[in-house]
């Protein structure tokens, strides 16, 4: 965190000054480790074993928070007897189909919910159909359930209750197993377990902070699930100082999922309609919610219709389903990596790159560059001529002869953008807080904001089709697209925020801003571009622009910016009070039930129906918000409880299980099943995989490689390698190795090394450092090699350049969210510089031969029981 988010790390330092213990668990020793109370080096790709070990420690030593666990989680809920755990199936859950590499999750459900969840729910993943939505689509909620009637055993003794399933599932995640898989000695592991559990309970809370070191894995979603189980067992959710905090790579990554750049989402985590499934609005809504489930998602009709009213205005009427059929439909996986492969197959003609540099920043750089060379046109909006704009003339493949500029027909349009100081707008950070930034100076020359660029583009497209009567042009013709602009043509960003907030369209409040999404209606009388953001313009005031100093308000600081939903700073904060509505402790009091006033109150906006008493119990079968009991704090979950066990919503299992990375020099010590059996693989010549167990040849790539960032650079380097004051701080691409590996492979400090995988070989300067330690894993010494990924070859005018770490990585994805596994792979390293020109291709080819790599290597998801034979 200190390494990649130094500004945010000031708050960790402040917490430390107040007595917080800071533990850093990371393959790397970074600036964060330097500041932590202690650092735990771990093998990249082994965290589920580590987290599972903590879960076992909590359960075995009865360190969980009993009242919280029984009342606020699904620990007591009884699961379908057909569910079979990985312990019985040697690394698989029940319902796995080895042919498709996908699960039918019917058997994972709660007892009494054997029927399939809400109808019409199908998800497409790289040509495979699975029965459940997952991933980003669930960014704002748990998966839906047919109804909320569950069977519970609050003694937690029933063998099919979640609590007992959890115990059995993690029975073998012992400290010895943690050592064998993660390379963390038992005494170090015990120190983590003791610190975390001692600092949790009524009086204290612990927070987990993660970043892409957890997400960029073929099992990334289950890493976060592992932390979620720990936090729920320890009672650390919905309480001050608790939670699981995601750090983002850019200023508004949270914002770009809320109002999404993701292919499978509409604003506010509404799913994108699917071709052939969602023929009309009713079919679509039926797939989002079932009226029998609890919680606020049952109002999805109001959120959807208000969104359609925002986009299509008066053209959206009840008679035409409010323009629902003008929305595009998705027909499969249109994620970034699938799109790249589609380019390669000439299925994609044009591409926009806005502040993104896939030639350097995405896994398998060569695949990215080859794919872009198949485009007809490419628009690059960036501060400088990044490698993605110039790869066709100076990329590594031009040097090797794999790409010839004269063969490439891609027309590249390079357009200069305005920087954040040159335009107004909002950033949404990881606490879901919107913070407004005002324009400080006008952009230079032809630089334009994204807002102006897309507004102009929309205007021009609409002019072109103004006279069209074609049905396909109807969405564009009916789009509301009139934003006030200033003398430079820059649209008023606050007008966009007002549209996002939504307003009353009819009645006596007509024209007034909505103050909460609860006011949204499904009859077309309200608008709102993203229901969770409703309230950001309450009272006609831009609430996100508030900057009242912390010293002038309460410690929760509700008047700094604005957090969705409804300016709540901590989600699910009903859990900060006990079942009777009293704070768990005075020290950790946050919101509570005021008996005399008959309502919830406290330091934050209560995340609960304001006047629902803790003792309230709904009639069985009632759905929606009214179905929530007075002690159901997780109000967006379909049963009101925190999910230790996820009966639906995940494609790779209801509980995290340890699998080896897609590429690993080690055999899975926990199960026969080697890798995540649902991971997405792409067997192609341009995306070959190093062998892993049970294949032979893995000894050719005996080392673990991981990629990361340095403080001095920003991601793929467009905002740092072109700036002298940053470029000079980290001028050259380097690899970090331990003194032991250096001795073993003859690597010299400040010399050169070549790093090889099935994809390609790259060269880096060598940094030999004690900060990298070899780990003893399964009785074997495992060396890890660290590669910062900021450099690239080519580009116009970069002050520093170098080989790109992402070139050695392949593309294998987590099935839930389609994120690439770039934090753990296998590789070889040798001293000296890599061959150049066509010799580089031959050099890599020789490695492939030696390891016996074919198109199929590494792409068999299922490991047969005789895998070791």
């Amino acid at each position: 965190m200190a390494e990649c988010h130094p500004v945010g790390f000031q708050w960790v330092m402040e917490a430390k000054a107040r007595g917080a213990t800071v533990i850093h668990i990371d393959p790397r020793f970074t600036r964060t480790s330097a500041m932590a109370d202690f650092h735990v080096p771990i093998r990249a790709g082994s965290d589920i074993a580590f987290l599972g070990g903590i879960i076992k420690y909590i359960l075995d030593n009865e360190k969980y928070f009993p009242e919280y666990v029984v009342n606020y989680t699904n620990a007591a809920t009884i699961v379908n007897e057909d569910f079979i755990d990985t312990e019985q199936l040697d690394g698989l859950f029940s319902g796995y189909n080895p042919k498709t590499g996908a699960y039918d999750n019917t058997s994972w459900g709660y007892e009494g919910m054997e029927e399939a969840p809400a109808a019409g729910r199908r998800l497409f993943r790289a040509g495979r159909e699975t029965s459940e939505p997952g991933g980003h689509e669930l960014g704002g909620r748990g998966a839906s359930l047919p109804h909320s009637v569950v069977q519970r055993d609050e003694t937690l003794q029933d063998p099919f209750c979640v609590f007992q399933i959890l115990k059995r599932h993690y029975a073998r995640y012992t400290p010895e197993m943690v050592e064998q898989i993660c390379g963390v000695p038992p005494d170090e592991f015990a120190r983590v377990c003791e610190s975390v559990t001692a600092n949790s309970g009524r009086e204290r809370t612990t927070a987990w902070v993660y970043s892409v070191g957890w997400t960029q894995h073929s099992v990334g979603v289950q890493y976060i699930r592992g932390a979620a189980i720990i936090q729920l067992l320890l009672g650390n959710m919905g309480r001050p100082g608790g939670g699981i905090l995601a750090l983002r790579g850019h200023a508004s990554i949270q914002g770009s999922t809320d109002i999404p750049t993701l292919f499978d989402l509409l604003p506010g985590y509404l799913p994108m309609p699917r071709a052939g499934v969602h023929g009309n609005l009713d079919q679509y809504l039926a797939s989002i919610k079932s009226d029998g489930q609890k919680g606020f998602w049952t109002a999805a009709d109001a959120y959807t219709v208000s969104l359609l009213k925002s986009w299509f205005g008066d053209a959206a009427t009840k008679d035409n389903d409010f323009g629902f059929n003008w929305l595009p439909r998705i027909s499969g996986d249109h994620g970034t990596y699938q799109t790249t492969l589609d380019m390669l197959d000439d299925k994609v003609e044009g591409y926009f790159l806005l502040g993104q540099n896939p030639a350097v920043g995405s896994a398998n750089g060569k695949l990215q560059r080859l794919a872009m060379s198949h485009l007809k046109w490419l628009v690059v909006r960036d501060f400088s001529l990044i490698e993605s704009a110039t790869f066709w003339k100076d990329g590594p493949e031009v040097a090797t002869g794999e790409m010839r500029p004269e063969d490439i027909g891609t027309e590249v349009f390079f357009l200069p953008p305005a920087a954040h100081t040159e335009k107004a707008g909002s950033f949404t950070q990881t606490q879901r807080m919107l913070q407004w930034h005002h324009k400080a100076v006008d952009p230079a020359g032809d630089c334009r904001s994204e807002l102006q660029f897309f507004h102009d583009l929309g205007k021009r497209l609409r002019e072109k089709i103004a006279a069209s009567t074609l049905e396909r042009d109807a969405p564009l013709r009916h789009l509301t697209w009139s934003y006030p602009v200033d003398e430079t043509g820059e649209p008023d960003a606050e007008a966009v925020l007002r549209e996002v907030n939504g307003q009353h369209l009819t009645g006596e409040k007509q024209g007034e801003m909505l103050s909460t999404f609860v006011e949204m209606k499904a009859d077309g009388s309200t608008s709102g571009g993203c229901w969770i953001y409703t309230g950001v313009y309450t009272g006609g005031v831009n609430q996100s622009a508030r900057r009242k100093p912390g010293s002038e308000q309460s410690w929760v600081a509700p008047e700094w910016g604005w957090a969705w939903p409804m300016n709540r700073r901590i989600l699910y904060n009903r859990a900060s009070a006990d079942p009777d509505g009293k704070p768990w402790s005075e020290r950790k009091a946050y919101v509570w039930w005021d008996e005399r006033a008959g309502k919830w109150t406290g330091h934050d906006v209560p995340d609960f129906q304001a006047t629902k008493a803790p003792s309230f119990r709904p009639e069985p079968g009632i759905g929606g918000p009214d179905g929530l009991a007075g002690d159901d704090p997780f109000i967006m979950q379909s049963d009101g409880k925190g999910w230790l066990y996820a009966p639906s919503g995940l494609l790779d299992g209801p509980l995290p299980a340890h699998y080896e990375p897609h590429e690993s020099p080690l055999r899975n010590a926990m199960y026969t099943q080697q890798g995540n059996p649902t991971r997405e693989v792409f067997p192609r010549e341009e995306n070959l995989t190093n062998p892993s167990f049970p294949e032979s040849g893995s000894e050719v790539f005996p080392f673990v490689v991981t990629t990361y960032r340095l403080t001095e650079h920003h991601t793929a380097g467009a905002m740092s390698r072109w700036l002298p004051y940053l470029a000079e701080l980290q001028p050259e691409f380097f690899c970090e190795v331990s003194p032991q590996l250096a001795a073993e492979r003859g690597l010299e400090h400040l010399g050169w090394a070549t790093i090889v995988t099935a994809r390609t070989a790259i060269e880096a300067r060598v940094m030999v450092t004690d900060r990298v330690v070899p780990l003893t894993v399964g009785g074997r010494v495992i060396h890890q090699i660290g590669l910062p990924y900021h450099w690239g070859v080519g580009g116009g005018g970069a002050i520093v350049s170098g080989d790109s770490a992402n070139d050695v990585l392949g593309v294998a994805l987590d099935a839930n969210v389609l994120i690439q596994e770039s934090k753990a792979a296998s590789c070889d390293i040798r001293p000296g510089r890599r061959p150049t020109g066509p010799a580089l291709v031959r050099f890599v080819e020789e490695y492939r031969k030696r390891a016996g790599i074919s198109l199929d290597t590494g792409t068999t998801r299922f490991t047969p029981p005789d895998g070791g034979a």
């Binding site: 500004v7 600036r31 003791e194 001692a198 004051y725 001028p731 300067r765 450092t769 004690d770």
Partner: protein
């Protein structure tokens, strides 16, 4: 120049300012520096200092190297496993952790990455200022030491005079400002004159670089060291905070977590001109003796 006490009470008044604000300085707390180098970048941005080298040095994560003409703030990284030189405890728990582990009693085997954030010390007795023949180096009303580039003739006397190796003559690039002229930290004299905080302190995200009235900073630093000692960080110590040291105390002083040598700092810095009056006296005496001898010889030969 004669001083009653070696440590000047107020260097600004001592140098002839008739009215001076309280002496300003930096307290750089190395125990909370996270090594982000925002200070280095902010300093270069504000002061228009040129980029000065694009090579990897292999000094841990530091590729700046040292303070010099084009590096006025510098953060180095010191990698060390185990206890400090003095055998003390360096790990940085601010309090005893609640699992009951007594860090002070523990054996320190951990990896440490010490952050060494360095800058011109703005000495109370500044040798650079003493040796400057043009008066380019001056004492400001804030008690800081500043080079007036337009007066400097580039003689370079100040370079070896500095006991810390802070000052350097800028050799290039040719199109940069002040090439051939001695350069160093001004404690952002221009910003101070406008009531602003120096750029490096302003940019520091963890308040590791604290700017303010020197007296107050010294008090604050003493409390910080006491706090760290109380929590078992026995290696914490101040460097340059003592008005009775060899430079009369620094205007910019530091909290270190190991011996000064580990940070590349002289353990007992002495103003290089301290002995100058004595030397001049000795030289005068020697000269007089020589003259007397010559006279005697002359007389004798008569």
């Amino acid at each position: 120049m004669r001083r009653e006490s070696f440590a000047a009470a107020d260097p600004a008044l001592d140098t002839g300012w008739t009215e001076a604000p309280p002496r300003k300085g930096f307290f750089t707390d190395g125990s909370i520096c996270i090594g982000c180098k925002a200070c280095e970048v902010a300093c270069k941005e504000w002061n228009g200092i040129p980029e000065d080298g694009l090579s990897m040095l292999g000094m841990s994560y530091d590729n700046t190297g040292a303070l010099g003409a084009s590096t006025w703030r510098h953060v180095a990284f010191i990698e060390r496993r185990g206890p400090s030189r003095s055998g003390g405890f360096t790990a940085l728990p601010m309090v005893t952790d609640i699992s009951g582990n007594d860090h002070a009693a523990a054996v320190d085997t951990a990896m440490h990455w010490l952050m060494s954030s360095d800058v011109c010390k703005h000495c109370t007795n500044a040798a650079c200022l003493d040796v400057c023949p043009t008066g380019s180096l001056m004492r400001t009303e804030f008690g800081t030491v500043v080079i007036q580039a337009e007066i400097c003739n580039g003689c370079g006397y100040c370079v070896p005079a500095c006991p810390f190796g802070v000052i350097e003559r800028r050799e290039g690039p040719a199109d940069a400002r002040n090439v051939g002229v001695a350069q160093k930290c001004t404690l952002c004299y221009d910003r101070l004159s406008e009531g602003m905080t120096p750029a490096c302190a302003q940019a520091c995200p963890t308040q590791s670089i604290q700017f303010g009235d020197l007296d107050e900073l010294r008090d604050r630093a003493e409390r910080r060291v006491a706090e760290l000692h109380a929590h078992g960080v026995t290696d914490a110590r101040l460097y340059g905070a003592d008005p009775n040291d060899g430079i009369g105390g620094a205007g910019a002083f530091f909290l270190l977590l190991d011996e000064p040598e580990v940070y590349g700092l002289p353990p007992d810095p002495v103003v290089t001109t301290r002995d100058l009056p004595e030397m001049w006296r000795a030289a005068a005496l020697a000269g007089a003796a020589l003259l007397a001898g010559a006279a005697a010889a002359f007389l004798r030969s008569r």
